[in-house]
């Protein structure tokens, strides 16, 4: 299979076509390498020396400060998300016919919780959601045993939010992490 030569547009450096040597024949594949000018580097004021630049630490600090200001909103949003997630999970338990559909919703909400937990210092929230998500990626055959393990993870996330557990959560956090790991191992063993 061969490729058609690209349209001559002039923006990127286009490949040259040289007849004769290297002309594609049967059983060959042609790969085009397109070198693009680094417009972004020029746009942000990158030096001609080609050395990588940096983002001003003051701007990184500012971004972190702005995010930190949203901590209360994050707490409120996480509570809402957990409530919605719990409701979708309960539906998944009841409505066996549409279980996969409900669990997809659980996955989507859990993905959001995982995305921002650690951002606001709730490392365990991200970790538990992430561990749960591993079981939600492939939903071909959601068993009752799977639902039990998912339920344990959701309960643990409720504990983190209820007790406002940040970082690794100390002894309670470690205990929760261990028991969830055990539950996951049992489920994997059953499979």
């Amino acid at each position: 299979m061969t490729e058609k030569p690209p349209k001559a547009t002039g923006t990127p450096t286009q490949p040259e076509q040289k007849p004769g040597k290297g002309l594609p024949g049967k059983g060959t594949r042609v790969v085009e390498i397109i070198e693009l000018p680094n417009k972004l580097r020029a746009k942000v004021g990158g030096g001609a020396d080609g050395k990588p630049g940096q983002i001003d630490p003051a701007h990184i600090e500012r971004a972190s400060r702005h995010v930190a200001r949203m901590a209360e909103a994050h707490q409120a949003q996480t509570r809402i998300d957990l409530t919605t997630l719990q409701a979708a999970f309960e539906q998944a338990k009841r409505d066996t016919e549409n279980r996969v559909q409900h669990l997809r919703k659980v996955y989507k909400i859990s993905d959001g919780i995982m995305t921002l937990g650690r951002t606001f210092g709730y490392n365990l929230l991200s970790d538990f959601a992430n561990s749960m998500n591993h079981f939600l990626v492939d939903l071909e055959n959601p068993t009752d045993a799977l639902l039990t393990v998912l339920g344990l993870h959701i309960d643990a996330m409720h504990v983190v939010v209820r007790d406002d557990i940040k970082g690794d959560g100390g002894e309670l956090g470690q205990a929760l992490t261990k028991s969830l790991a055990l539950a996951r191992a049992k489920l994997i063993h059953k499979r």
Binding site: M1, E3, P6, T9, P12, T13, Q14, P15, E16, Q17, K18, K21, G22, P24, G27, T28, R29, V30, V31, E32, I33, I34, E35, L36, L40, R41, K43, V44, G45, G46, G47, D49, G50, K51, P52, G53, Q54, I55, D56, H59, I60, R62, A63, S64, H66, V67, M70, H74, Y107, K108, D111, G112, M114, T115, L116, R118, T119, N130, N133, H134
Partner: protein, 218 residues
């Protein structure tokens, strides 16, 4: 390639970024991070469809400020981040076709990572999100751009990120910027994520080819 940093601080206020995520709160936080980092213009799309509309318009309006980078979540519905990526890479307009595209996803879905790589993603933003990882992806796009590769079944940045020694016979024929792989397999599959694609020695003046030689592809 220079390894030492120049110490120069980039001015990001001239950049325009599109954030596509159907989770409103996650989108808000990412926008907050980008604005905090100094990005001048941040556009938001609450779905993959809305992102396509915004991107399409940006190509049609003359004089409109270009969108420089796309951040898109993988788990969007009905048009997810991967479909949006494919739409971008197959777009007729070169301004869009070659746009740096950052896919955001959790590591739970390894298949999504592989599909994004093979769909032509520029960078991957692994969740959970932080100011540091957003900043590092921006820097990677500015400082480590990879040449684009157009091959059967693939268009996107060169998927190889490292050059490894390869002892086999080099079957590539380099002609300008075209690389012909002779007697290559039709199988375009690359090794799984995390497993390096073996490299071959290149002729002087040639740039990296995207595919490995036949022996390593088979």
């Amino acid at each position: 390639m220079a390894s030492a940093k120049s110490g120069k601080y980039y001015r990001l206020d001239g950049l325009s970024v599109l954030v596509a995520d159907d989770n409103r709160f996650v989108r808000t936080i990412l926008v907050t991070v980008l604005r905090g980092l100094g990005i001048g213009r941040v556009l938001q799309a609450e779905s993959g469809e809305e992102a396509t509309a915004i991107l399409d318009v940006s190509t049609q309006i003359q004089g409109a400020s270009d969108i420089d980078i796309v951040f898109a979540d993988h788990l969007m519905a009905p048009v997810d981040g991967l479909e949006l990526l494919k739409w971008v890479r197959n777009h007729d307009h070169e301004k869009l076709k070659f746009i740096p595209y950052i896919m955001m996803s959790g590591e739970a879905d390894e298949n999504a990572v592989r599909l994004a790589r093979d769909g032509g993603v520029t960078e991957y933003l692994a969740k959970p999100m932080s100011v540091a990882n957003v900043a590092s992806r921006l820097l990677a796009i500015v400082d480590k751009p990879r040449p684009f590769v157009r091959a059967p079944g693939y268009i996107g940045p060169d998927r190889r990120r490292q050059t490894l020694p390869y002892e086999g016979e080099d079957r590539r024929v380099m002609a300008g910027r075209r690389v012909t792989l002779e007697e290559a397999s039709n199988d375009d599959e690359l090794p799984p994520v995390g497993q390096a694609v073996p490299d071959v020695r290149e002729e002087a003046g040639a740039v990296g080819a995207e595919d490995a030689p036949a022996e390593t592809v088979d």
